[in-house]
């Protein structure tokens, strides 16, 4: 296989790409339509065909190179293989549909248009890890979608795809839908488990990792909705087919949630490794009103923003984005045009993380509010240039010093927005007393 270089699309002939996660089938959310289109065949295969031992399923997913779509991008099959050997104790799967990172709205699309693919993925994962209970944790704001998927799940139960003795094979798995109560932190995997247990959603310290001690202290795996939706595809079409799609180190179809100042915002399914420019200019129909692009935030609000001059040749996969100075995150891409005041934008982002910090760890609890205070002051035109150094200092004081990654998620946008758009921040600060051109003046 040819290794794609930075600067060219790794998505191959993406214009002819045929969607698999959200195929062009009308009413696919209905069980009968899903069945007509080959639905639950992958589940049937793993449950009935001899070659699909649980280990074989895990190995196939591992071989496909599927990386988690929830943000961290960890190899899903590898994660499954961390589950301890089966014993008589319970073990759980959690499907994370808490999707609450600003700029991310792709799981909702899956739950709306192809819920049975998610359910089938859950069942395959349960089979692979010998799990008999899965909790599908959906954020509370998705009330309508929760009703929708509950309805479809009931139908799947009625048809014997879920529940006791699935398709007469003796394999049983229950899927329980759990409704979140509107906290961003519940999307963090250990926090999600605490929330599920009815506790305060404080993230847990790791180790122990969920595979050792998860829900109710039993082995647990947590996967994103989109990650699990890939499982039936891998079983149906094979790991090789899957790993050939998109960027070799980060393969597969992916849902790009494009929002912001583009002509056609929305969720688009394409291979990974798409050029950011292709996504903006062709997929999303170009910049709205012909305005100039200012910044792209590739994977949800916590990923570092890229300046317009930084995105040439950058593709949407972990490696390319890391080289460019950002991250794949959830693939929820925010596109900002020249009218955006980056200080105001950062103020809004900082407000979000301040509001959503759970308050467990000191640096995050106190730091997020302080960041918002300072950015807000600059935004009001009352800030000082020295505040920018203080912000950078506070980011250092927060990053990597908390139980979960929320402190990092709050600090990165601040650090990188200032680093990459410093002029705008300096321009909004109160003028310094040092006259321009004096030897004390530092070029921004």
């Amino acid at each position: 296989m040819e290794v794609a270089k930075q600067g060219t699309s790794k998505a191959g002939n993406w214009r002819d790409y045929e969607r698999v996660l959200l195929p062009k089938v009308k009413n696919l959310h209905k069980l009968e339509v899903y069945e007509e289109n080959g639905g639950y065949q992958a589940l049937k295969a793993v449950l009935t065909e001899e070659k699909w031992t649980p280990k074989a399923v895990t190995d196939e997913v591992k071989a496909s190179g599927l990386r988690g779509r929830g943000g961290a991008g960890f190899n899903a099959g590898l994660k499954w293989s961390f589950m301890p050997p089966v014993d008589d104790k319970p073990r759980y799967l959690c499907c994370n549909g808490d999707e609450s990172e600003p700029g991310t709205f792709k799981d909702r699309q899956l739950l709306e248009y192809n819920p049975h693919l998610v359910i089938e993925g859950i069942l395959i994962a349960c089979y692979a890890m010998s799990i008999t209970t899965c909790y599908l944790y959906i954020r509370g704001e998705f009330a309508d979608w929760i009703t929708h998927i509950e309805h479809e799940l009931e139908k799947a139960y009625a048809k014997g795809y879920v529940g006791k003795n699935i398709m007469g094979t003796g394999f049983s798995t229950d899927v329980v839908i759990h409704k979140g109560a509107g906290a961003y932190i519940c999307g963090e995997e250990t926090s999600l488990m605490n929330s599920l247990e009815g506790k305060r959603a404080y993230p847990r310290i790791k180790p122990p990792f969920p595979a050792q001690k998860g829900c109710w202290n039993y082995p647990t795996t947590i996967n994103n909705v989109e990650t699990l939706a890939c499982a039936p595809l891998i079983i149906n079409k094979g790991a090789e087919w899957y790993s050939a799609i998109g960027a070799p180190t980060h393969p597969g179809p992916v849902l790009y949630g494009i929002s912001g100042h583009v002509n056609r915002p929305g969720v688009y399914e394409f291979p990974t490794g798409m050029l950011i420019t292709d996504l903006i200019n062709e997929v999303a129909g170009g910049m709205r009103g012909g305005k100039k692009l200012k910044a792209v935030i590739p994977g949800g609000s916590s990923t570092p923003p890229l300046r317009a001059d930084m995105i040439d040749g950058v593709t949407m996969d972990a490696d390319s984005l890391r080289t460019a100075g950002s991250m794949m995150g959830t693939g929820g891409m925010l596109v900002l045009d020249e009218t955006v005041d980056m200080v105001t934008w950062l103020k809004r982002v900082s407000h979000f993380y301040h509001h959503e910090s759970c308050g467990q760890c000191t640096p995050c609890r106190e730091g997020t509010g302080w960041l918002e205070d300072i950015v807000g002051r600059i935004d009001r035109g009352e800030g000082n240039v020295r505040d920018l150094d203080l912000l950078a200092d506070l980011c250092t004081q927060m990053e990597g010093r908390t139980v979960c990654a929320l402190a990092d998620a709050a600090a990165w946008p601040v650090r990188y927005t200032i680093e990459r758009f410093r002029d705008e921040f300096v321009a909004k600060c109160k003028p310094t007393l040092t006259p321009a051109g004096s030897p004390l003046t530092v070029d921004a």
């Binding site: 310290i205 910090s357 000191t362 640096p363 609890r365 509010g369």
Partner: protein, 574 residues
């Protein structure tokens, strides 16, 4: 043996201890707030960060990697680690703030964050002076603050329950209090509410924080967020002395500190003793300290033709001798006391033996069903077990009462108890009563011929044996009138005690109670009856008890120390 290197010094260890506890045990201080040795580890304050690494292992050979000099290559964790939650492994290398600037900086950074929304109202905060946040901010914190915004406002002076007051703004969300109610007391009466920087502990709707152990959260709160409603604003910590002793509310003998200002006990807090009460103290042990201050007698008194009148100590001894020397020993009843120390009871039994009277009995004070199998016992006295070990039997009150009523006794000698309230006899009893008593509210006073004011547990030196057979010493927390070298030498001292003079305003003679410990009174009475009980002090008495009585083997002052000693259940005869 497995080793760990902390700040370039090697230590041996066994098992998988937690780093923070391991360091604390060895006197290596690492600042921390949320960690508490007997609760779960949430690692949420992020104060105890250290730099740590483990020996790198070559993936191919599975052998430790070595550098050119043959030393193991240390692979440091990419992030600073919370020492409270990290288990030590063999070969681990740890750098605290003493050997790593990064760690020093991180601890400083964290304290800056902790103080950002803290009200810094130390001048009016009860916790000031013994506040972990205050102390550690001075030691490890930054010089000033760079925070220039309005602090977060949260509810203040909220009564969580009858005994505990919350100041939400001072709270640093360490969750020690909520973990206490969830993991130690099990009442689940506290939880964190709100989110992020607005977090603070609160009771669930409609619930009052009234569990019998609620005040422990005041002890473990590392800031002044939870304070005692009773003690608030009464005294600064540096104006008080604290004496390590035990409580006398029940038979558990939980370890405590008595906090004293101007010779008055103002509060009682828990003292660690893993053998007895761990770190905890029930609320009932903390309350009722007023009995040490209020209604205390002033000097002995005796009955003459004109009724009760104050006497000098010498007069009162003579009056007691008068009563006892003419009495028929068979018609003298000695009532020992589960409130009194082993020493006092022992001397009483010697006196009874000298006169030829029966072995003393003692009065039980139990409230069946009031105990909780933890730190609250049915028995409401501290030394019933000690009395039993001295060979005293619990009095059969109805039987003894009828005998007294029938005129079976001429003299009743009562050590530190209130038999009238217990119903042993009425205040118009015919027998002459010699009474050692604590408070003027004692109902037996009306029946007394001679009344000796006795030193209470906070004023004496002695030994108590708890319900589990744990012998523990008590130490004087407050002074009594008169000079007693033993008491003075054992006394806990405040800064004012040490550096003040009687001319200082805080010194008030009127707060000194004119009473004496039993081990000072009984020998004086015994002397008049021809028995020489010349001990240098209770320490020597206890030495004699521990040698003479197999049920007290090993209970010397040296071995009891601060944590006491467990007496054997089946004493072997010497």
């Amino acid at each position: 043996m497995a080793t760990v290197t902390i700040d370039n010094k090697q230590y041996e260890f066994e098992g998988r201890p937690l780093l923070l506890q391991f360091c604390t045990d060895r006197g290596i201080e690492i600042p921390h707030f949320c960690y508490h040795p007997s609760m779960s580890v949430p690692a949420n304050c992020r104060q105890c960060l250290v730099k740590a690494g483990t020996p790198a292992v070559d993936r191919a050979t599975r052998q430790p990697k070595l550098d050119e000099e043959g030393n193991p290559v240390i692979q440091y964790f990419p992030k600073l680690m919370t020492s409270c939650s990290m288990e030590i492994t063999d070969g681990m290398v740890v750098h605290t703030h003493r050997s790593s600037e990064l760690v020093e900086r991180a601890q400083k950074d964290n304290l800056e964050f902790l103080l950002v929304n803290h009200p810094l109202d130390c001048p009016i905060c009860d916790q000031a002076g013994h506040c972990p946040l205050q102390i550690q901010a001075y030691k490890y914190g930054p010089e000033g603050s760079r925070f220039e915004f309005e602090k977060v406002h949260k509810p203040k002076h909220i009564k969580l329950g009858p005994r505990v007051m919350l100041d939400g703004e001072r709270c640093i969300n360490c969750t020690r209090c909520t973990r206490f109610t969830a993991e130690v007391s099990g009442s689940h009466q506290l939880t964190i509410i709100e989110r992020g920087v607005n977090n603070f502990p609160m009771t669930p709707p409609g619930v009052e924080f009234d569990e019998p152990y609620s005040m422990n959260v005041i002890d473990i709160c590392p800031v002044g967020a939870l304070t005692s409603i009773d003690f608030r604003f009464k005294a600064r910590i540096w104006e008080m002395s604290s004496a390590p002793s035990i409580t006398a509310t029940n038979a558990k003998g939980s370890n405590c500190f008595y906090w004293v200002k101007n010779n008055e006990v103002l509060k009682i807090t828990a003292r660690q003793n893993t053998e007895v009460n761990d770190y905890w103290l029930p609320d009932e042990d903390r309350e009722g300290y007023q009995r040490f201050n209020d209604d205390r007698p002033h000097g002995p008194s005796g009955k003459t033709d004109g009724g009760m009148r104050p006497m000098s100590w010498e007069e009162s001894y003579a009056a007691a001798v008068d009563v006892l020397e003419t009495a028929d020993p068979a018609r003298v009843l000695f009532v020992g006391s589960p409130h009194a120390t082993v020493e006092d009871n022992y001397l009483l039994s010697k006196l009874a033996g000298h006169l030829g009277a029966d072995t003393p009995v003692y009065l039980e004070h139990t409230v069946p069903g009031s105990g909780d199998n933890w730190l609250i016992t049915d028995d409401k006295t501290p030394n019933a077990s000690g009395c039993e070990r001295l060979g005293f039997n619990a009095a059969d009150v109805p039987l003894l009462r009828s005998k007294i009523q029938a005129g079976g006794y001429d003299v009743i000698y009562v050590l530190e108890d209130d038999p009238v309230s217990s119903g042993l006899f009425d205040s118009n009893v015919d027998a002459k009563v010699i009474l050692h008593y604590y408070n003027t509210t004692n109902a037996t006073l009306a029946a007394a011929s001679v009344a000796f004011p006795a030193a209470m547990i906070v004023e004496t030196v002695g030994t108590y044996v708890n319900v589990d057979g744990h012998a523990q010493r008590v130490r004087p927390a407050k002074a009594v009138k008169g000079v007693n070298r033993t008491l003075q030498m054992e006394m806990g001292k405040s800064r004012l005690d040490q550096h003040g003079t009687p001319f200082d305003k805080w010194y008030d003679e009127t707060k000194l109670v004119d009473c004496k410990p039993g081990w000072e009174i009984i020998p004086e009475v015994a002397k008049g009856l021809g028995l020489e009980l010349s001990y240098r002090g209770p320490k020597q008495i206890m030495e004699e008890v521990s040698t003479a009585l197999p049920s007290f083997t090993g209970a010397t002052y040296e071995s009891m120390g601060l944590v006491g000693v467990r007496l054997s259940d089946t004493p072997t005869l010497v």
